[in-house]
Symmetry: C2
Subunit: 138 residues, 2 copies
């Protein structure tokens, strides 16, 4: 699991290593924010990787189906995506400037056992996002 490159990651989930997929993976790895598809498309265009918008949607959906990425919703009219390999964390979303910060600690996982005990609901994932104002917008 360690020391593997993008190509191997794709192989592990049975996806062919096309240039568009490799570029999307690389972009996600070097970016510290969840990205929307428009941003991914822009990146591909700026890097001489010919890819139709439809392809970007298909790629990110496959990544999500295979568990490589996860959907993030920040009350915009679209989804964002980030690598699942990022440790459990949440986002601080500034409602003024749109900046997105990470909040690394997460104690929410601890609640999941209680939920099963109290409500017989088996949690497989959760989302926790905070909305407010970042330091420079206060």
């Amino acid at each position: 699991m360690l020391n593997h490159n993008c190509k191997d990651e794709l192989k592990e989930v049975n996806l062919k290593a096309t240039s568009a997929r490799l570029a999307v993976l690389k972009l996600l790895e070097k970016t510290d924010q969840p990205l929307d598809v428009a941003t991914i498309i822009g990146y591909l265009n700026n890097h001489q990787i010919k890819a139709d918008p439809v392809t970007a949607f298909r790629i990110i959906n496959q990544f999500t189906d295979k568990g490589l990425t996860q959907k993030v919703q920040l009350k915009e009219g679209k989804f964002r995506y980030e690598l699942s390999s990022k440790p459990d964390h949440h986002h601080l979303v500034c409602e003024s400037c749109g900046r997105i910060e990470d909040m690394p600690e997460c104690q929410v996982g601890l609640l999941e056992k209680d939920i099963f005990k109290n409500k017989q609901f088996k949690v497989s994932s959760h989302s926790l996002e905070f909305f407010g104002k970042c330091l420079s917008c206060q």
Copy 2:
């Protein structure tokens, strides 16, 4: 604040008491799930209240702007809405049948002071949703 009816609630936020707005408020009050706009439109149609879909979108947006309702996102491609007057709570979303249960307790508010201390981010709201399988789908 107590003993007031839908008409008064609208007056408090400077919205005229039209039949469509009263019906939407009433629907939200009697429903225990966050509702999407399509559901609201269906309700209006089934209750002889003539209202264009555009009107339903406008109504729910105004309610949200005025703080009467809040947006909820459950990783669908749309928003849901519920009354802000509901006590702080979160949702358990069954990924098999789509059932939405409430989870009444919420300790997340306690984290908000820490976030301000550690990240200088001023939280005004948060969303916390759990995804998994309900009892009958496990």
